[in-house]
């Protein structure tokens, strides 16, 4: 009744091809954006920023990145943690070597460096496919983490091998380091996410995105119709790694503040991000957001319910939490293998008809 497209006429191709063709959607999008940029920063406190919102924004960037590679180009990667580590160590080296340059540039450069590394590790994808490729990307994961652990130059020869983010400012507000306020952390991540999501959305509906999808659906067929698998696959690796590198840089510099390669960027991180895009929906921008939100919020929520409301011992709660997360993943895959994005789409279809059955 309220959600409908009747009377919403398109008079230009441009109108017809826009991201949110339905007026209500478009308005919803503007409202959410306005709320995210204007309202949330006023009310945000340290707990919400650090436990929920900042990790959500950062993981959403990482999920977007992996979704480009896995969801759009069909190359399954388990090297996300390693690529995030590249971003983190790159930004650390840049921050400490050129303190006078703006942190925003450093983060972008860190993304660029990660993109280069990603292309390098993407080369085998031209020969290796499917699960073999997934396992092969683990080589990147383990090798990169080992490298950052072993070569003292990467962590500026500190005794313990930990890297710590110094304070850097944007427009006079600290965005990294211990004195960063919650709104500053939140806003810098939000800005990056907004710009990147916008860019990815437009990339994926352009030529490049179509090439990726052709490769995903069947690479031999795509090659025959004139898509060059070399450039398509490597560009997917580059774009994906760029995003993941930025996520890693933000995770280290803005969110954690200090990191150790083994612990912060281990194999679990790779799996976590892969979960996000599968639960959210492969090949969907909305899915990346939904998946990240789901997997960041769920554990916090479960912990608060089990330990908080039921008063269970923390270890029991943590184990039950694992069981619930596992069971939910299986449940989601059974109910809707195409993820939350598909569920959202179905809901919208239903809403268009509601409350009339036909």
């Amino acid at each position: 009744m309220f959600y409908r497209e009747a009377g919403d006429f398109k008079t230009t191709y441009r109108d017809d091809g826009q991201t949110f063709p339905i007026r209500l959607d478009r308005w919803g999008y503007y409202v959410i954006l306005a709320a995210a940029f204007l309202v949330v920063p006023i009310y945000i406190d340290a707990y919400w920023a650090n436990a929920v919102l900042v990790p959500f924004l950062i993981y959403a960037i990482a999920a977007l990145g992996l979704n480009v590679l896995t969801g759009y180009a069909g190359q399954v990667s388990l090297g996300t943690g390693g690529f995030m580590a590249v971003g983190a160590y790159a930004v650390y080296k840049l921050m400490t070597s050129f303190p006078e340059v703006s942190i925003v540039i450093h983060i972008l450069l860190a993304g660029g460096i990660t993109a280069a590394v990603g292309v390098l590790f993407g080369l085998p994808s031209l020969r290796i496919k499917g699960f073999y490729l997934a396992v092969a990307t683990l080589a990147a994961q383990f090798f990169l983490v080992w490298l950052f652990n072993k070569v003292p130059w990467f962590y500026n020869y500190s005794a313990s091998g930990q890297i710590t983010a110094p304070t850097r400012r944007v427009f006079g507000y600290a965005v990294t380091g211990p004195t960063t306020s919650a709104p500053a952390k939140y806003l810098i991540c939000l800005c990056f996410l907004f710009v990147l999501a916008w860019a990815v959305r437009n990339l994926t509906r352009g030529t490049l995105g179509r090439k990726w999808m052709a490769i995903r659906d069947m690479d031999i067929a795509a090659e025959i119709i004139g898509v060059n698998p070399l450039t398509a696959k490597l560009s997917a690796f580059a774009v994906s790694s760029f995003l993941i590198g930025i996520a890693g840089a933000l995770l280290f510099a803005v969110y954690l503040g200090a990191a150790d390669a083994n612990e912060a960027f281990g194999i679990n991180k790779s799996f976590l991000v892969l979960f996000m895009i599968i639960i959210g929906g492969l090949g969907s921008i909305f899915g990346s957001f939904a998946g990240a939100a789901f997997l960041v919020l769920l554990p916090v929520l479960l912990k608060n319910i089990l330990v908080g409301s039921f008063g269970w011992p923390t270890n029991l709660a943590a184990h039950i939490e694992l069981m619930i997360v596992g069971a939910l993943i299986v449940f989601f895959l059974i109910v809707e293998p195409h993820g939350l994005a598909r569920l959202w789409q179905l809901t919208k279809e239903k809403l268009r008809l509601w409350p009339f059955p036909h």
Partner: protein, 426 residues
């Protein structure tokens, strides 16, 4: 129990909860994940001592102590979340039992002005209170441990280690790398050859490292391990028939869980400790009467008296003493984190005080000041007896070699001060 967790939850979701009318000492514990078996015992000891104070003395200075527990799984991100979730509830001090989480919290805690107490772990150079205003790591740190171990070996060899070979088997993480610098310096000073063998966490597969050891035949092996790595290393050392008396673990490689799975072959294995072990202390009479028998022990009291339990309890003892000191200094029983820092800096735990607490000769005497946040650094060596299934202390508290450690600590803390833009105080 119930109430405790409900209040935590309220604090967790509405972080701006008003400060409660009691003393809050959050326990960032880990009872799950690869290191859960170790973390559980420590957390139990930590909880039980505060329960004892609440039950027996009605808290500290008449104020009840609340110990909300938060599970970190030894994971830095969950650690940060736990910190943020609990700090709103008026948390006085944090003890996360993880070097990784400590590194995260050092800048955060300084910004929030909440003390960190990291006995035997964390950032070693935090001993320099002039730079690390909010971090305390008495009675001993990693470098103290390395030095005490070498000193012990010097004693064994009549004061001369020249020409000996000493290898370090370490957990390939921030924690494991800590002692390398110190050991290199000490190798130079005493003329022994030093080599380091990293083991990637979790560390179930160490065959090649021990084959290397078998080839190189070091005279002594030191170990900086945690979790499953410890017992695997001890097992592999036994497999290659490395003499257990020449194998010395750090504080965190010397608990029951590390040696028991290996059985009789672990007999004679040595480890450092900065506190006593076992149940032969008067405090356990009270513990039994007020905590264990009424069924108030944390998680059923399965581990009472174990090494890690004792260590958790010891950390709680020091925190409780610091709180008492802070109350005395501030003239109020309801102290703030900043007042607690003053309490830590004025803290003095003498041998007599330990005896009063029912823990005679349990730990070294601790004196802290504005400059010195690390106490004396004294530690002792214990040895595992596999037939009796218990640890026995074989040396007295030994002083580390401050001539070597002092400059290293100054250097590292100055580097941090420069990096973080801190003006040294005191």
């Amino acid at each position: 129990m119930k109430l405790k967790f409900t209040t935590l939850a309220a604090g967790a979701f509405m972080a701006a909860a008003p400060a409660m009318a009691d003393l809050v000492v959050p326990n960032l514990s880990y009872r799950t994940g690869p290191y859960g078996a170790n973390g559980t015992q420590y957390a139990d000891g930590f909880n039980d001592y505060f329960t004892l104070l609440n039950e027996r003395d009605g808290g500290i200075g008449g104020e009840t102590i609340r110990v909300p527990e938060c599970e970190t799984a030894y994971n830095t991100e969950k650690g940060v979340e736990c910190y943020e979730a609990t700090k709103g509830g008026g948390a006085l001090v944090y003890n996360p039992l993880s070097t990784g989480i400590t590194y995260q919290l050092i800048p955060k805690a300084a910004a929030d002005q909440i003390p960190l107490y990291t006995p035997g772990y964390g950032r070693t150079s935090a001993k320099n209170g002039a730079v690390f205003e909010w971090v305390f790591n008495a009675p001993a740190n990693y470098w103290d441990g390395a030095s005490v171990a070498v000193k012990y070996l010097l004693d064994e060899n009549g004061g001369d280690l020249s020409g000996k070979k000493i290898a370090l088997v370490y957990h390939n993480s921030a924690y494991g790398k800590e002692p390398i610098r110190t050991l290199e310096e000490l190798a130079e000073k005493h003329g022994f050859t030093f080599s380091a063998l990293p083991i990637d966490p979790p560390g179930q597969e160490q065959k090649s490292q021990w084959l290397q050891t078998r080839r190189d035949r070091p005279d002594y092996v030191l170990m900086w391990g945690w979790g499953v790595m410890n017992q695997t290393a001890i097992q592999e050392a036994a497999n290659i028939r490395f003499p257990m008396e020449n194998f010395i673990g750090t504080y965190w490689s010397g608990s029951e869980v590390d040696v028991q799975p290996v059985g009789a072959a672990a007999n004679g294995y040595k480890a450092l400790t900065f506190h006593g072990v076992g149940m032969d202390y008067p405090i356990y009479d009270d513990m039994k009467q007020y905590v264990i028998d009424p069924g108030k022990a944390s998680q059923g009291g399965q581990f009472v008296g174990s090494v890690l339990y004792s260590r958790g309890m010891y950390a709680a003892v020091v925190i409780a003493e610091a709180i008492a000191k802070a109350q005395e200094l501030a003239g109020t029983s309801q102290i703030t984190p900043a007042q607690l820092r003053d309490g830590f800096e004025a803290l003095e735990i003498s041998a007599e005080r330990l005896e009063e607490l029912g823990l005679p000769d349990f730990g070294p005497a601790i004196t802290m000041s504005c400059e010195n946040h690390g106490g004396s650094g004294m530690a002792r060596v214990q040895q595992w007896d596999a037939t009796e299934r218990k640890w026995t202390l074989i040396t007295d508290f030994t002083e580390p070699d401050q001539d070597v450690l002092g400059p290293l600590i100054a250097e590292d803390s100055e580097a941090y001060a420069k990096e973080a833009g801190i003006e040294p105080r005191c």
